[in-house]
């Protein structure tokens, strides 16, 4: 538990991705099995551990600390696990701290009463940092800024293998991953990827360089729309059905409607989207709805009947990676595409359709198409070399994405926050707003990139010279109709959002240009911004 607690502590305070990877690989190198594997499972949320209810923990601390003093403490700290870990009185002569696997095994075997006794004994014997790690582990609140993807990346770095190799076998592995570590350390075979239902690491595209677009031709390339949803992989093999995100996370629990429709034996690469059930026609089976309607269904453990009915999901198929047990990934795209079309011609699917190819003659045609797509739910075109096999990662010269131009709006800088790490002496996170009818500014987004180091220095200088107020690391800057800095903000789309005061939320906002020349009063209004909303945005 000592090493695990120290790892969590360091991860919590390390903002940089590379720093986190380094901490994890060091931990893998110095921690024996099964503890290191259990730690991975804890981070990727694959750990099976009997959980503890907050009410029980409150009872335990109440036996040791006056409830009034506890409430003062909890008010101050604001986090139950942390408050208890700090306020728990140490007990000299208590038992030694258990190893991580001892905690997991003992808890999984214990009934409620025994679990309570175990937890009590451990808390007595631990220091504050170990107590915190234990409480986070058993209350399931392990929010330490490490995604499953990052954990896999760290494992790949530890074994010096490509992360797609880990992703490919991941879902066939079980905690505590002893066979995985053995392979990564060169003392064991690579765990097999023959199990049905495994994830196939995805193939990704490069953006088209606008200045010198490649020499696209219909003889060598195919084009299709880039739909504005979530890239997924639907795997249905030997009765095993899985729905994976593009990083290999299983998201099936939130999409029982898709899973129920996977009555085939194939691996389909496609776009997860939401459709309008009431606007279905013979010509258009799945009229696509805005991304915000899909967002409501993402990141859920379960989904209500109501939401399933109001926001039904489907998959628009791009590619076929396997069919009836035959791995097609080494085949050229043109052949895979024929197989995919044949599959869709052979029968009707409930929640799947085929992403149509887009006809073109020249690269110029593609430039026109991506700039003015026929549907709000299209964010550009994808171009694929006909001879390209399906290769994990982002191979060069095979697939391209050519996005439509971003939306642009002129907003006024309102607040700036200091960054982290290398940027900790710079105000580098910028909140901006647009004018409202009553003459005020409504914050509409936050951007922290899109500018050069040189521009960052200038922005930082502006913030320091125009500070009106400070709140911890945040500065409010002067922003009125006379003085204010106009930022041209580029963003990919706009959603209605009742959670934001302005009523809208931007996707992927970044600073496109700093308009030092533009008077603040001439920045855009909220009404102008709202005109950019998709016509049917917010239907739920």
């Amino acid at each position: 538990m000592r090493a695990f607690a120290e790892l969590l502590e360091r991860l919590v305070y390390t903002p940089q991705r590379n720093g986190k990877i380094r901490l994890l690989t060091e931990y893998f190198g110095t921690t024996p099995d099964p503890d290191r594997g259990l730690a991975v499972a804890a981070v990727t949320r694959d750990l099976e551990i009997a959980s503890a209810k907050p009410a029980m923990l409150r009872e335990l601390i109440a036996e040791r600390l006056d409830p009034v003093l506890f409430e003062y403490s909890y008010d101050y700290v604001g986090d139950l696990a942390e408050t208890i870990s700090l306020a728990w009185p140490s007990k000299p002569g208590a038992n030694r701290t258990p190893a991580l696997h001892e905690v997991v095994e003992a808890l999984n075997e214990a009934d409620k009463t025994a679990a309570r006794k175990l937890i009590e004994g451990w808390l007595d014997g631990m220091d504050a940092s170990e107590r915190w790690a234990l409480l986070k582990l058993i209350t399931g609140g392990l929010r330490i800024g490490v995604s499953a993807r990052l954990a896999k990346t760290a494992l790949a770095a530890y074994g010096d293998v490509n992360v797609s190799e880990i992703e490919e076998i991941w879902h066939g592995l079980d905690s505590p991953y002893a066979n995985l570590f053995a392979w990564l350390e060169g003392v064991g075979e690579k765990p097999s990827s023959n199990k049905p239902g495994l994830f196939r690491p995805v193939m990704l595209a490069h953006p088209v360089d606008e200045e010198t677009p490649p020499d696209f031709s219909p003889d060598t390339h195919a084009a299709e729309w880039k739909w504005d949803g979530v890239r997924v992989q639907a795997v249905s093999e030997n009765g095993v059905r899985r729905l994976y995100s593009r990083t290999g996370d299983d998201i099936a629990a939130a999409f029982p409607d898709i899973l129920a429709a996977m009555d085939f034996d194939a691996v389909i690469d496609g776009e997860l989207l939401i459709f309008h059930p009431e606007r279905q026609t013979d010509g258009e089976t799945f009229p696509v709805r805005p991304f915000s309607d899909l967002q409501k269904r993402l990141n859920r453990k379960t989904v209500s009947k109501k939401l399933l009915a109001s926001n039904p999901a489907f998959i628009r198929a791009y590619d076929l990676l396997s069919h009836d047990g035959e791995d097609l990934r080494a085949e050229p795209f043109a052949d895979r595409r024929l197989r995919l079309e044949a599959l869709f011609a052979s029968r009707k699917f409930d929640r799947f359709d085929l992403s149509p190819l887009v006809a073109f003659e020249t690269a110029g045609d593609l430039a026109t198409l991506r700039a003015a797509p026929p549907d709000d739910a299209i964010e550009g075109v994808m171009i694929k070399r006909l001879a390209a096999p399906y290769v994990p990662g982002r191979p060069t010269g095979e697939w391209w994405k050519w996005k439509r131009d971003p939306f642009l709006v002129d907003a006024v800088l309102m607040y700036a926050q200091r960054g982290h790490g290398k940027r900790s002496s710079f105000y580098s996170d910028f909140t901006f707003g647009v004018w409202t009818d009553d003459g005020g500014l409504a914050p509409v987004g936050k951007a922290y990139f899109g500018f050069s180091d040189e521009e960052l220095k200038e922005l930082d200088r502006f913030v320091r010279n125009h500070t009106k107020d400070r709140f911890g690391p945040v500065r409010q800057v002067q922003a009125d109709r006379e003085v204010g800095l106009v930022l041209e903000i580029a963003f990919e789309g706009l959603n209605r959002s009742p959670r934001h005061k302005s009523g809208v939320a931007m996707r992927f906002p970044r600073i496109h240009r700093i308009r030092w020349d533009k008077p603040s009063a001439e920045a855009d209004t909220l009404a102008t911004l709202k005109d950019m909303l998709p016509s049917d945005g917010g239907v739920s």
Binding site: Y13, P15, L69, Y72, E82, L86, A128, S424, S425, G472
Partner: protein
């Protein structure tokens, strides 16, 4: 019978002793002040006369200039000074160099104004002394049971381990210029770190002062871009100690991919450390933690406990549970954020 309030009482300018006609740590200029220690919220310039330890007087002179007061009166630790018939004895408080508790005796009654204090050993100042009294006046900066400062040596070991782990980065240690900075440096020396430690310009005078009073800080050098020989310094793998405010300053940009460390009792609370963008929190405090506060009150067993500043409601509650008469003084002007 003289009531305790007739010997010391809270006023807007600070604790006032009517028979002695002096204030303890006044927050506004007065005729006669007794100053417990050199932190700015306790030791202000502009009093006509100041009684304090030689170290505290030297610190005030270093910070405010030689004319910070008209009359300086030195009282060494353990020395009694009679002011208008009131005996004032200064004894160690263990907070920073020269810090003292003011023991005030009048008419057979004894009140101790302890200023800021801690109980653990500190290589840069004399340890807290326990003396029995009728009224003990305590701070409550860390007066919540969640504040239990860990072992200093383990915290310093954390820093030194991180320096080993990231030899290409600069470790920037935030520490208040008076007391904390010198203690952090002295603790690193105790742990065997004998390389040059770089310091922010704002700390130079106080580090020199500590050295003059016999506190060995080892080799120090200014954290300027060019060394004394004129070479450009990279600071990679080095430790730089600076006041926390310097982190958000343009000054901090000279360092290679700095690891932001901060030595403070507040680092115990994770959100506070993260809000400040701290990567390496070092829980090192010059104030008593909850256990030290409670132990001190039990050791001294005063008739009455008066609580000056901090989280007094929790300490009041503890006193109530333990049958100790206690009252908050609600003094204003003391900052409990600086540690």
């Amino acid at each position: 019978m003289t009531a305790y309030e007739d010997i010391l009482r809270p006023t807007p300018k600070g604790l006032y002793c009517p028979p002695g006609d002096f204030f303890i740590d006044p927050v506004a200029p007065v005729d006669r002040a007794v100053v417990t220690h050199g932190h700015a919220d306790h030791a202000r310039a502009g009093h006509r006369a100041v009684l304090a330890t030689p170290e505290t007087l030297a610190i005030m002179a270093a910070r405010y200039g030689a004319n910070f007061t008209t009359t300086r009166q030195e009282a060494a630790l353990g020395e009694v000074t009679r002011i208008n018939g009131v005996d004032v004895l200064l004894i160690p408080a263990g907070h920073v160099l020269g810090s003292a508790q003011a023991v005030v005796e009048f008419d057979g009654k004894r009140i101790i104004a302890s200023g800021d204090y801690k109980r653990r050993q500190d290589p840069t100042c004399a340890g807290f002394q326990v003396i029995a009294c009728d009224v003990f006046i305590t701070e409550a900066t860390f007066g919540l049971p969640v504040f239990r400062h860990p072992d200093d040596r383990a915290e310093i070991a954390k820093l030194l381990r991180s320096v080993e782990r990231f030899p290409e980065r600069t470790h920037l240690v935030g520490a208040y210029a008076l007391g904390k900075a010198q203690r952090v440096i002295a603790l690193m020396r105790e742990a065997g770190y004998d390389e040059t430690i770089f310091i922010h310009g704002a700390m130079q005078k106080l580090c020199d002062l500590y050295t003059d009073f016999g506190v060995d800080l080892g080799p120090l050098a200014p954290a300027t871009l060019k060394s004394e020989r004129g070479d450009k310094q990279s600071f990679a793998g080095k430790i730089v100690v600076a006041p926390p405010s310097a982190f958000s300053d343009k000054w901090a940009r000279r360092f290679a991919d700095p690891v932001a460390a901060f030595a403070s009792g507040w680092m115990r609370i994770r959100v506070r450390a993260r809000q400040r963008g701290v990567e390496l929190p070092l829980i090192l405090s010059d104030h008593a933690d909850w256990d030290e506060l409670v132990t001190t009150i039990k050791d001294i067993q005063p008739q009455e406990l008066w609580i000056t500043h901090g989280r007094e409601e929790a300490l009041m509650r503890w006193a109530e549970l333990n049958g100790i008469a206690a009252r908050p003084l609600s003094l204003i002007g003391y900052e409990d954020e600086n540690d």
